[in-house]
């Protein structure tokens, strides 16, 4: 009996700081300033500027997720085939940037891409015309890929390194070529890692406001920027909460996908 009491502090904490806060978002999202029920806040996602922000967020985060996957899978494969154990130095090198402060990583790209930044400096040194790199959708994608790539590498690597070499040898002995082995063995067995990696990149990319703020300038608004501004500048918490509810639908979808494909938590990054 006394063991159950140990859960007390945690249960109180969860109720106070996880459940009630989420309840408040739902309450604010579904009421107006007078406290009356309305769906106007959620429906405001359909206004042209909000819709544009949502589509742009979805598009940019999808592109970044695809690029991350395309870069990370071969990388995880090479690391795994080098037979290096988990926690070896070479794996460490590719995971290390993940522990570097997120804002510093974004600031680094600002330095490189700016009008008077390092990349344009190199271009003028080579007598090539300067490019406007910052404040473009491309800069945001670059920032997302750079920031979230390790979150794709790690779960895929974890899943791949659990695959037994003997399975591959068996397939080869039975006459499968490299392509068949990739499509019929590596890919299906690494699905939990891929799905987990996709979610770990897609959700933060979809909801970011920092990367778009620092690398996209003030002209490119993502849905995260819209919500952040409702809370910090415009002061319309009802609208901000309503839009957050829309965002949570996408998060719930990704959670459902994870639950379907990664039942045992094999693809978890930690």
């Amino acid at each position: 009996m006394s063991k159950k009491l140990l859960a007390g502090p945690y249960l109180v904490w969860m109720a106070g700081f996880i459940i009630i806060p989420l309840g408040l978002i739902i309450y604010y999202g579904l009421t107006d300033r007078d406290g009356l029920f309305t769906i106007a806040n959620v429906a405001s996602i359909a206004t042209p500027e909000h819709r544009k922000a949502l589509w742009l967020s979805l598009w940019l985060s999808l592109v970044s997720t695809a690029i991350c996957l395309a870069l990370a899978y071969p990388l995880a494969m090479i690391l795994r085939n080098r037979g290096v154990g988990r926690g070896s130095f070479i794996v460490f090198i590719f995971i290390l940037p993940m522990w570097m402060n997120f804002l510093l990583r974004t600031m680094a790209w600002q330095t490189l891409l700016e009008k008077n930044g390092v990349l344009n400096g190199i271009l003028s040194f080579l007598h090539l015309p300067n490019q406007s790199l910052i404040n473009t959708a491309g800069a945001i994608i670059l920032g997302m890929v750079y920031n979230f790539l390790p979150f794709m590498v790690l779960p895929i690597y974890n899943v791949l390194s659990k695959i037994d070499d003997d399975i591959i040898h068996a397939a080869r002995d039975l006459g499968a070529n490299s392509m068949q082995i990739l499509v019929q063995i590596w890919l299906p067995l690494s699905v939990p890692g891929i799905i987990s990696g996709i979610t770990m990149v897609f959700v933060p990319a979809l909801t970011t406001f920092v990367i778009s703020n620092l690398l996209g300038g003030s002209k490119i608004l993502l849905i995260g920027n819209v919500i952040e501004q409702e809370f910090t500048r415009a002061g319309n918490w009802h609208m901000g909460s309503g839009l957050s509810l829309v965002l949570m639908i996408f998060i719930l979808i990704s959670m459902a996908v994870i639950a379907k494909y990664d039942k045992n938590g094999e693809g978890s990054a930690f």
Binding site: P21, L96, M107, F209, S244
Partner: protein, 264 residues
């Protein structure tokens, strides 16, 4: 596969590894180089200087933010560890249904987007009448840290053998004494890694802090954000170089030190 083919494959793989490594580290190295640059320009080398480091250590804002960051990381990870370990013991002895419910709720802060967690906590603090400041950052950090502790400790706790704990009780140990003598040593690696994970998550957090901090207080992350939006000063490069080296040292120590000891 013939020897040439293998050689080409190996070379191609090395090339790919180097390419990704350059992509990951070029920005960080650029900042390090610029932190020693006398010229404020990002494209001209004006000579070597340590001035920006002196600026950084002299800056009251940066030092206050550093102090807040470390204090919040330490307190939040310690408190989260205590609450989390206690919760694990209780959850472990729960029936399957309540257990699944509690674990499901535990996963919410980990899977939810940081912006939603941050906003929801901000709304709650204002509804509870807690004024935004150091306290609220601390509470917010404890909230998102507890799940990391639970997820690190739970697997270890499941592996422990119940009989040893019961044997200790049979031999006259009280439940608390038996726990600390018998169970705790077994779950200690999980507790430590949970603590370290929580500490790092707290150090790195920006978004949740941004919404729960209120005016007049900064952590390093929020300070960097407001500075960068006004234009990057070279002292920020000095700061990032220092942070990078500290993180590197900490990670090397935690990743490699125990292993080499075990091998000996």
């Amino acid at each position: 596969m013939n020897r040439l083919g293998r050689f080409l494959k190996r070379t191609w793989q090395d090339f790919y590894l180097v390419l990704i490594m350059v992509f990951l580290y070029a920005p960080i190295v650029t900042m390090m180089v610029l932190s020693f640059n006398t010229s404020k320009s990002r494209t001209q080398w004006g000579g070597f200087t340590l001035r920006w480091y002196a600026d950084m250590f002299a800056s009251r804002n940066i030092m206050a933010a550093l102090h807040n960051t470390l204090l919040i990381a330490l307190l939040s990870s310690l408190i989260a560890t205590v609450i989390g370990v206690a919760a694990c013991i209780a959850i472990n002895s729960m029936k399957p249904v309540p257990k699944a419910v509690v674990m499901g709720i535990t996963n919410i802060p980990m899977l939810n987007a940081d912006i939603v967690t941050g906003i929801s906590l901000m709304l709650a603090f204002i509804a509870f009448g807690i004024s935004l400041g150091f306290k609220t950052i601390l509470i917010a950090h404890i909230t998102f840290n507890i799940p990391y502790v639970i997820l690190s400790v739970m697997p270890k706790l499941k592996q422990t053998n119940r009989s040893t704990y019961e044997a200790a009780m049979d031999l006259g140990a009280g439940p608390v004494y038996a726990f600390f003598k018998v169970v705790f040593p077994d779950i200690l690696p999980g507790v430590l890694s949970g603590f370290l994970l929580a500490f790092t998550m707290s150090l790195d957090d920006f978004i949740i802090t941004h919404f729960t901090k209120g005016a007049g207080i900064n952590t390093l992350s929020t300070l960097i954000y407001s500075e960068v939006r006004r234009g990057i000063r070279p002292s920020m490069y000095a700061l990032s170089t220092v942070i990078f080296l500290v993180v590197l040292t900490l990670l090397i120590l935690t990743n490699f030190a125990p292993r080499t000891k075990a091998e000996k």
